[in-house]
């Protein structure tokens, strides 16, 4: 089954400045949770440089946006 939207941030693909709560809590794994529902991504993202959900260029911070040749992206 495919993910609706991926919460995974891949080094070399996504901007190094993207942040989400999961990066800041010391959460242990719970693999059995996918027995009870399918994967989903409810994550709120922000930029560490602006400390908001918009990057330095004013565009939203999301994995699908914070990659590639976006000018403010840092790899």
């Amino acid at each position: 089954m495919d993910h609706l939207t991926s919460s995974k941030l891949t080094s070399g693909v996504h901007c190094l400045n993207i942040r989400h709560k999961g990066m800041y809590v010391t959460s242990g794994p719970y693999p059995e949770e996918l027995n009870f529902y399918d994967p989903y991504d409810a994550t709120a993202y922000w930029c560490v440089e602006t400390q908001r959900g918009f990057g330095p260029d004013g565009k939203p911070v999301r994995p699908d946006m914070c990659s590639g040749d976006r000018e403010c992206c840092r790899h």
Binding site: T5, T26, S27, Q51
Partner: protein, 717 residues
């Protein structure tokens, strides 16, 4: 006390003296007496006050910013532009500039003198509006929707062929804001190139990283302090724009700056729970087994942010398909909010479950038991449905629609939930001093949940001394690293770290004491303020006398979380009984029963408090809270605590909490799960009372009346 490390190095005691008992919060007296100092209470010498200038428009372009008048206003010490001409703002409350002045009043006055010229742009404020192909765009560069990937399991056609009954309806939940009692805010003070920040945050170490990276300074130069904070619910993990603005104002003014947001800013720009909609077609067999689920969902996380949630939730649909679409509107962005996604997915699924149960004429509890995952340590739903039904008096529940004459109808509802709650990664430090005093340090923070208390419980339990012998130091980046307090991970991260560190320190003390007591270190135990032989209690020494043997050198130990002391996966079921006045549409909750597990309970009192808090928050979600945007102006019409409704004391019902002790699973977090299923249990009780299905939160009186009217016209089931 049994020292399990003889078998496995670190375990919890088999016969604890403090763990799992009801221990009062250590900071309760300080909070009640007003001695507890929250960020808002921090006042530094020479401190001035910051104020942010925000966009009044839901969507606009900044054409110019003139700071001159503000800069020369009385008492003003610093003014900064946060945006540049040409920048686009995407919601009411988007920050644009900031000022700092010697009083809060002068800061407000100066903020009004910042002259921003705007080019208003078309906006969208509700989901349906945004999804219209002809709608204005929320951004000049972005689309209003982002379709997700199709998820499919099994064979939907087969599933519907196996169905004896099919329900097809649209369900929804609304946007609510976090409404932290203590608003977001910061006090920043520079000493040369070193920053000290008192922040209302869920993560002191994480906040320090944010300051360092956003300001371009070494993290070693940042100290963040949070001794007390008034709730975050997922919205306080970073310095945020107001934190960075505060630090910049303080640098510019060369003075400490306090910048606390007001309630309106809190509603507009510090996060919210996204809305959730789903059009669902679901099938059930004649035997009451779920066969098929076909869902198309959408929701908004505001300006450019996602809105996904788990769907279907918990119950086993063997054949299912779902596609989710994120919808963007001109409103503040979502942030993690107490069990992100779960309350939405739970509500949408659980209302459907009652409708399906009625179709096959099976009691809702029995129907859920037939379709719940099998019992496992992390999946106790079937047990809770059965035991909860007995405790709640479910046998007194009438079929859908209270036949009692008169306008006041009574009904019962049920719902279930789950959460992970696993921890890892925390570190701690303990000093056992020669005078017998003990200092435990951990860079975690207490959001109001009782972390300070549980740290002390674990230390006292491990060292066998009274809790008042322990000095617990938390809420400061000068203490060892601990994770942010979110995802219900704190208790499961911190408790093992304290247990491990204190065990190591005690073992060092045992080694010192053993020759004096005449017992091998491995045969010593600590309990009741003494160290004694495990098999010969006559060989003992008082804790203070034992510590005197340290001479001039304290025992000083660093430790960290280790596997085996915590677990993952909690389950819970909630029952609700309500009355509904079918003439006014007013719902009153009579009682709620919460069946919940969280592994090893550290403090029964604070664990129960987590459940109370979660249930009350969900009552607000179900009956009161609603972020209302005016579709014409794009303005939030209730950015306050007058028209943004919350339950008062008289709205809170009897809440019975049943915690299932599972010490063998280790510590598991409980902050999030109890808030997940309450709203759907209430809505199902309203359905049982009135016979009308309300598929959309909140259950405001006008919606209840509309559903009853529709039901009378033969429409809702």
């Amino acid at each position: 006390m049994t020292w399990g490390w003889r078998v496995a190095k670190y375990t919890w005691p088999e016969k604890p003296t403090l763990l799992s008992t009801r221990v009062l919060r250590l900071d309760g007296p300080d909070k009640v007496a007003g001695r507890a100092r929250y960020t808002y209470d921090i006042n530094r010498p020479g401190m001035i006050y910051g104020r942010i200038v925000r966009s009044p428009y839901p969507h606009a372009r900044v054409t110019s910013i003139d700071l001159a008048a503000a800069q020369t206003a009385p008492g003003v010490k610093a003014v900064v532009a946060y945006r540049n001409p040409g920048d686009e703002v995407h919601y009411q409350g988007d920050p644009v500039a900031a000022v700092a002045a010697d009083t809060e009043e002068r800061a407000r006055d100066a903020a009004r003198l910042v002259r921003v010229r705007w080019e208003p742009l078309p906006h969208v404020s509700i989901e349906a509006q945004a999804m219209d192909a002809a709608a204005p765009k929320w951004s000049t560069t972005q689309e209003n929707t982002r379709p997700g990937v199709r998820q499919e399991t099994g064979n939907l056609e087969t599933g519907f062929n196996d169905a004896a009954h099919v329900v097809e309806q649209t369900y929804s939940t609304h946007v609510i804001t976090h409404v932290c009692l203590e608003t977001h805010g910061t006090v920043c003070e520079w000493d040369g190139d070193k920053l000290t920040a008192w922040v209302s945050t869920q993560g002191v170490h994480q906040c320090a990283q944010g300051f360092a990276q956003a300001l371009g300074i070494p993290q070693a130069n940042v100290r963040v302090i949070t001794q007390y904070m008034g709730g975050g619910f997922g919205s306080k993990f970073a310095p945020d724009s107001q934190g960075i603005i505060c630090a910049k104002l303080a640098k510019l003014a060369n003075a400490p700056v306090k910048l606390m947001l007001d309630r309106k800013e809190e509603h507009l720009d510090t996060g919210n729970r996204p809305s959730a909609f789903a059009h669902i077609r679901a099938g059930v067999s004649a035997e009451g087994k779920l066969t098929a689920f076909d869902g198309r969902s959408w929701g908004t996380g505001g300006a450019g942010a996602g809105s996904n949630f788990p769907l279907p939730y918990l119950y086993q649909f063997p054949n299912r398909k779902r596609v989710h679409t994120d919808v963007y509107i001109n409103a503040g962005q979502q942030r993690a909010m107490r069990a992100p996604g779960h309350p939405q997915g739970c509500f949408l699924t659980e209302i459907l479950m009652d409708e399906l149960a009625d179709r096959v004429k099976i009691d809702p509890v029995e129907f859920r038991i037939r379709n719940a995952p099998p019992i496992a340590p992390n999946a106790q739903w079937i047990k809770y449905f059965q035991e909860g039904a007995r405790r709640f008096g479910w046998e007194k529940r009438h079929p859908t629609g209270d036949p009692t004459p008169g306008p006041i109808k009574t009904g019962m509802g049920v719902s279930a939930h789950l959460w992970g709650g696993a921890g890892r990664g925390s570190t701690a430090h303990v000093d056992i001093n020669p005078d017998g005093s003990v200092v435990v340090k951990c860079g975690t923070q207490d959001l109001g949940t009782g972390t300070r208390t549980i740290v002390t419980i674990v230390a006292a339990e491990t060292l066998g001394v009274p809790m008042n012998a322990i000095t617990t130091e938390i809420g400061d980046t000068q203490y060892p690293f601990s994770g942010g307090s979110g995802g219900s991970t704190t208790a499961a991260s911190v408790s093992p770290a304290i247990r491990v560190t204190c065990t190591d320190a005690l073992n060092q003390l045992f080694a010192k004491v053993a020759p004096t007591v005449g017992v091998q270190p491995d045969d010593l135990v600590a309990e009741g303020g003494r160290i004694r032989g495990a098999t010969d209690a006559s060989k003992s020494v008082a804790w203070k006398d034992a510590c005197k043997l340290l001479g001039t050198e304290p025992i000083s130990v660093d430790g960290k979380w280790q596997d085996g002391l915590s677990g993952a996966g909690t389950s819970g079921v909630q029952f609700s009984e309500v009355t509904v006045d079918i003439e006014t549409g007013i719902v009153r909750i009579k009682r709620i029963l919460a069946m919940q597990d969280c592994g090893l309970i550290v403090d029964r009192l604070t664990a129960e408090s987590q459940v109370y808090g979660g249930v009350i928050a969900a009552i607000n979600f179900a009956l009161y809270e609603d972020r209302l945007l005016d579709r014409v102006t794009g303005q939030m019409v209730n950015p306050n605590m007058e028209f943004y409704l919350l339950a008062g004391m008289s709205d809170v019902p009897q809440i019975d909490v049943v915690l299932n002790d599972m010490p063998e699973r280790g510590v598991i977090g409980i902050g999030e799960p109890p808030t997940v299923s309450t709203a759907s249990a209430i809505a199902n009780a309203v359905r049982n009372a009135t016979g009308a299905t309300i598929r959309s939160l909140p259950l405001h009186p006008h919606k209840v009346l509309a559903a009853i009217e529709q039901q009378r016209a033969g429409g809702t089931n």
